[in-house]
Structures are given as structure tokens and as C-alpha cells.
């Protein structure tokens, strides 16, 4: 195979391959730019009418034509925060469990089960959430939280079972399989020679994991988190079943709310008035804005982390 190939042939095939990869990478950019362009164009009427007021008003009235995204933005952010705060630690720790604490056979079996859960249609998560989990929340979890932490405004209000907290938990469950599966693979890809040298120096399992494995695979783990974040922020069906769909803002996690994606899913097919449609499109654009902000913040944070940990990749 590695005979003396014509170096011209080598350079040419390398060139073609590289162009191919560049093309494919630009497809991503192209598609996204096209989507944002379409959204921009179609949100024109709404932007013209409301301007920046759109982002701070929580009125959502299709009859009078008054639209404000605040309650949806609030709901998206809160439910995503709950979801990620629960999912990331759980997923990483579960991946750790699967790679370090159980035999490879069990790990593979459980791994398949977790991937399976990524395939559950989101509407099933919604139905499970509404018919199975919400009663459980309202009968057991929420009263317990109210009893112990009820002095906090976070846990006030009647325990209906549906609401922001339940939506966040369901999102966390939807996101965990993604983060866990990818993190597990990241952990498995850490060259054993590195881990073994640390063990050889007398480090405990946790020390090896935190100081070696995670540091080596940090980029991959962050990538996995973004995968999960993408799902959490854009999830529609599961959220709309359990979040209560109320266009208002409340400090309590027990109350109903709504999210950008769920509002879009609920109202898009039925909106026939041009201003209404345009406001919904602008709502979608707002979601992109939020994703961009989160991404930029994460990128800045990652830069600083890398410098602090002096990771070389």
C-alpha cells in the first residue's frame, strides 16, 4: 500500500478530499444562514410594529394583535436551566459509573438501553409526563418540596403536577441519554496508558477521573452538553404537554408557563393572520438569539477553562 506513489497523485487526491470536506462544512453554514434569512424576512411586519418592545412585553393577544415574547423567553430559559442543571451532572456521573464501576458487558447492555431512550418520540415523553409522571409529582414530590422548602417563592403555589418544574425534569430525562452516551464514549477513548500511569502513581479512581479523564475529554464532554442543550432548548412536544401553556411569568416552579418552542408548535399551524404569523416567526428568531448568547458565553468560559487547566488538545 505505502509504495512509492506519485506524489502528484497524492497531492491531488488530498486536495480533492480537502475540498470535499470544506464543501460539506459549508453546507451547514449555508443551510443555517438560509434559515435565519427566511426567519428574518418573515418576521419583518412584526419587527416593524413592535420593535424591541417585543422582547420585554409579556402580552400575547392574537385577537388584538399585541405580541410580546417575554413569557416565552422566560419559560425557555428557566426550563432549560433546570434541565441542564439536572442532566449534566447525572449524565456524567452515570457515564463514569458505566465506564469505571461496572463490567464492560453490563456497561454495553445498559449503554444500549440508554441509546434506546434517545429514540423515544418526544410526544411519548409528553404523554408519559402528563399521564404518569405529573400525578406522581403532584401527589409525592411537590408536596414534599412544599413542606421542606415552601418558604422559598420557588416552591409556592398549588401542587398541580404540571408546570415549569415538571417540564424541566422531563427535558432533563430527554437530554441525559445524549450526554451520557457521548460522554461514555469520550471516557472510553481516553488512552488507557494515560489513566494507568496515574493509577500507577497511586491516584484513586475519582482523582484519575477528575484530573485526567475529564480534562483529556473536556472538549468532547462540552460537545456532548451542547448536544443535550440543543435538544432541551428546542424541544416542543414533551414540553407543551406538561408545562401548562400559560403566557405569564411567575417565580414559582410549580406554576404553569410556556416556552418559545412550545408556543411555536402550538400556534403555528393555526395562525392565519399575517401579523400573528410574523410574530411567531420573530419568536423563532428570538430563540436563535438566545442560543447564540448561550454559545458565546460558553465559548468564552471554555477558553478560560482551557487556559486555567492548561489543556493541550
Amino acid at each position: 500500500m505505502l509504495s512509492l506513489r506519485n506524489s502528484r497523485w497524492q497531492r491531488r487526491t488530498d486536495f480533492i478530499f480537502r475540498i470535499l470536506t470544506v464543501l460539506c462544512a459549508s453546507v451547514i453554514a449555508f443551510v443555517l444562514v438560509l434559515i435565519i434569512y427566511e426567519l428574518f424576512v418573515n418576521s419583518g411586519p412584526s419587527f416593524k410594529k413592535f420593535g424591541l418592545r417585543f422582547l420585554v412585553s409579556s402580552i400575547w393577544n392574537p385577537v388584538t394583535g399585541e405580541f410580546g415574547a417575554l413569557s416565552s423567553i422566560f419559560g425557555t430559559i428557566v426550563s432549560t436551566i433546570i434541565a441542564m442543571a439536572l442532566a449534566v451532572p447525572l449524565a456524567i456521573v452515570t457515564a463514569l459509573f458505566l465506564t469505571e464501576l461496572v463490567s464492560p458487558a453490563i456497561s454495553k447492555l445498559v449503554g444500549i438501553g440508554i441509546e434506546l431512550l434517545a429514540a423515544v418520540p418526544s410526544i411519548i415523553y409528553g404523554m408519559w409526563g402528563l399521564f404518569v409522571f405529573a400525578p406522581f409529582m403532584s401527589n409525592h414530590i411537590q408536596p414534599a418540596l412544599a413542606r421542606w422548602f415552601g418558604f422559598l417563592p420557588l416552591f409556592s403555589g398549588p401542587p398541580m403536577g404540571i408546570g415549569m418544574l415538571t417540564a424541566g425534569i422531563i427535558l432533563a430525562l430527554m437530554v441525559v441519554p445524549f450526554i451520557c452516551a457521548v460522554t461514555r464514549d469520550v471516557f472510553l477513548m481516553v488512552p488507557s496508558v494515560i489513566k494507568e500511569s496515574a493509577f500507577g502513581m497511586g491516584a484513586t479512581t475519582w482523582e484519575v477521573t477528575s484530573k485526567v479523564t475529564i480534562r483529556y475529554g473536556l472538549q468532547g464532554i462540552i460537545g456532548a452538553c451542547f448536544l443535550g442543550l440543543g435538544r432541551a432548548i428546542g424541544e416542543t412536544m414533551a414540553v407543551t404537554f406538561v408545562i401548562g401553556n400559560d403566557h405569564n411569568i411567575s417565580a414559582s416552579l410549580f406554576s404553569a408557563g410556556n416556552s418559545i418552542a412550545s408556543t411555536l408548535a402550538n400556534e403555528f399551524s393555526e395562525a392565519s393572520d399575517p401579523l400573528y404569523l410574523s410574530s411567531l416567526v420573530e419568536l423563532g428568531l428570538t430563540l436563535f438569539l438566545i442560543t447564540i448568547v448561550i454559545q458565546s458565553l460558553a465559548w468564552v468560559w471554555l477558553r478560560r477553562m482551557k487556559r486555567k487547566m492548561r489543556v493541550t488538545l
Binding site: 392574537p62 403532584s138 404540571i162 401548562g244 401553556n245 402550538n266 399551524s269
Partner: protein, 351 residues
């Protein structure tokens, strides 16, 4: 080596499949595609199925919502659209469309109260409006007790449940409230999606039914079939004639029968709050919308033949699924409108 063979077989299989499914200019009859309201989905799919058994003609109806139906027929991606909310005459004219009612049904009020059985609780229009406006917040409110002497109503919070998604059912319900409550008219209004003063939003009739069944003290509105299938506690409602009626095919029919369709251009007529002792106040027709100018005369004819079959032969199935078939005189009016409105290249499609 084996890998190469397998890869080759896979590629071959894919090419075969895509060749099989490619557009090779089928000489078979085309499928008639329709989309729209969820309200009549069960009966439309039943009719399509039966018609296909009898004639072999395929009709594909998908429930994507009334708004979706209107949008798709305007975009000409389907042959017919279906909507619970009729288009106005101006809108029809502007888009070159014509519409007609195909089926009638009712929206009912359901509650979740222990010890209250279906058909026990009585509500007046004012009570209903005030509950949904958030002015009455507890079940043992004297206003409710006044109308329901003898019923033991607990000191429970009323949790209002409405639709989260835009819907023709909401349109019908708010249309009714708009008619009977001046305060609702000024504060909220009518639309497929409104700014509800209070309450939670469930996704679809199923979501509303789910929330109501889940929360003690909840009240919501759903299509009749959902109340029946889920064995929910529906209420009586006082109609325009002052009588408390129970939702049923008879009371829906009564409301439809007393309607004046002749003087409704474009069949724009809403059946809420109809006169008559037995009329159910929240009754509504579901409409079919098609283009006045049919590009393919034969295709258009097949479509109208299907609708004619539904109007003339579909009554039994409709009643089985708790819908109300159109009364005879309305059927004649509808078919007359086809003759007058639906053309292809200048010539009427239906005769």
C-alpha cells in the same frame, strides 16, 4: 472483501427502491388530498375509508388544524381544505375559493368534581363566562349554588383549562362566549387562539381532557367525542330559550335545524346560541373549502362525487361517531352551490 460485497448490495438495494418509487408517470388515479380541522377527523377518515372500499377512489385527509387547512388550500398544496371557522365572503372572493358545511358537531363543558355525576351540574352563560374570565374562582360561589340548589359544592379552587394550541374548537367556544357575554366581547374576543384571562392550556382536546382529569376542581371545554370516550363529567348548559339542555346528537341537531342557511352567503353561519328549546348552545358546523376554478375537471368531479356521497350516504356513520349529519334541505343548497360556483375552464364541474 465481504464488506465490499455488502456495501455493494446495499447500494443496489437503495437504487432499486428509489427507482421503484420514483415518479415514472403513473397512469393510476391520483389520490385526493385534503387537510384541515381536527374536529371532524374521525368521521372524515371513516367516510374516506368506506368510500375507498366501495369505489376504489383514494382520499387522504390529514388533520393539521383549521388554520393549516386554510393555509394549504390557499397554497394549492391540497385539493380541499377543512376548517371549523368559516372564511368570510371577502376572504373567499379574494382567494377564488368557495366553501360549504359538511358535518355538524358540538363542544361540551367538562369538570372534575368528586361526587358530581355527568349531566348534574347546571351552568348559565353568565356563569360560564365569569368562570373563564376568572371572576368566579371557587366552586362554592353563591352564583353557582343559586343555579344548582341541592348540589353539594365544595370549597375548591376552580382551575380553568383551555386550549394551548390554536383551534377551531376554541374559535367556536369563544364565539359563543362572545355572543352571550359583553364583558368577554370587550376583554377577550373570538379567535382560534386568544389571550385567556386565566387558566392552563392543554395541547389538543386530548391535552385539555388530560388536564381536567388530572386536576381536582378543573373545568374545560372539549369536543363531545372526547367527553364520551374518556367518560368525563359533562355539564348542562342553559340555552337561549332559558332551558337547561344536555349535550347529545338530538340537541346538536336541534340547533342545526333551526338555523337559517338560505340567507347566509358563502354559507357563513355560526351555529352557536341558536334559538329553540332543545338547542345545544355550542354547536358548530365544519366546512370544506375548495377552489372555484378546478384545474382538472375530472379530478374536481371525483372530489365532489365523494362529498355528495358523504352528504347523502354518510348519515349513519356520522351519528355512530356522535356527529350530526346535515339536514336534507341544507344538502340541496350545498349541491346547488357546487353547480353555480365550481368550474373548470368555464364549464361547471357538477351537474
Amino acid at each position: 472483501m465481504i464488506k465490499i460485497v455488502i456495501k455493494g448490495l446495499l447500494v443496489g438495494l437503495i437504487m432499486a427502491i428509489s427507482g421503484l418509487l420514483g415518479e415514472v408517470g403513473f397512469a393510476q388515479s391520483k389520490t385526493l388530498n385534503g387537510a384541515g380541522a381536527t374536529f371532524p377527523y374521525p368521521i372524515y377518515s371513516q367516510w374516506a375509508y368506506q368510500y375507498n372500499q366501495i369505489t376504489g377512489v383514494k382520499i387522504n385527509y390529514q388533520s393539521i388544524g383549521s388554520g393549516g387547512g386554510i393555509a394549504q388550500i390557499k397554497a394549492k398544496t391540497v385539493d380541499f381544505g377543512a376548517s371549523d371557522a368559516p372564511l368570510t365572503v371577502e376572504d373567499l372572493k379574494a382567494e377564488g375559493l368557495t366553501q360549504f358545511p359538511l358535518i355538524i358537531g358540538g363542544v361540551v363543558i367538562v369538570v372534575n368534581l368528586s361526587d358530581i355525576k355527568p349531566g348534574q351540574l347546571k351552568l348559565t352563560p353568565e356563569l360560564l363566562a365569569n368562570i373563564f374570565l376568572g371572576k368566579i374562582t371557587k366552586w362554592n360561589d353563591p352564583a353557582i349554588a343559586k343555579v344548582n340548589p341541592g348540589l353539594k359544592l365544595a370549597n375548591k379552587d376552580i382551575t380553568v383549562v383551555h386550549r394551548a394550541d390554536g383551534s377551531g374548537t376554541t374559535w367556536l367556544f369563544t364565539n359563543y362566549l362572545d355572543k352571550v357575554s359583553p364583558e368577554w366581547h370587550t376583554k377577550v374576543g373570538t379567535d382560534k387562539s386568544v389571550a385567556w384571562p386565566v387558566g392552563l392550556g392543554g395541547k389538543g382536546n386530548e391535552g385539555v381532557a388530560g388536564y381536567v382529569q388530572q386536576i381536582n376542581g378543573a373545568i374545560g371545554y372539549v369536543e363531545f367525542a372526547y367527553a364520551l370516550q374518556n367518560k368525563m363529567t359533562y355539564t348542562l348548559l342553559q340555552n337561549r330559550a332559558g332551558k337547561f339542555v344536555s349535550p347529545s346528537i338530538e340537541s346538536f341537531s336541534a340547533a342545526a335545524g333551526n338555523a337559517d342557511w338560505k340567507n347566509a352567503p358563502g354559507f357563513y353561519h355560526v351555529l352557536t346560541d341558536q334559538p329553540g328549546d332543545d338547542s345545544w348552545p355550542i354547536t358548530g358546523a365544519s366546512f370544506i373549502i375548495i377552489h372555484k376554478e378546478q384545474p382538472d375537471a375530472e379530478h374536481g368531479r371525483e372530489m365532489l362525487k365523494f362529498f355528495s356521497w358523504c352528504l347523502r350516504n354518510g348519515a349513519e356513520e356520522a351519528k355512530k361517531l356522535q356527529y350530526v349529519p346535515l339536514p336534507k334541505n341544507l344538502v340541496e343548497l350545498v349541491e346547488a352551490s357546487w353547480k353555480a360556483e365550481v368550474k373548470s375552464g368555464g364549464k361547471p364541474v357538477w351537474n
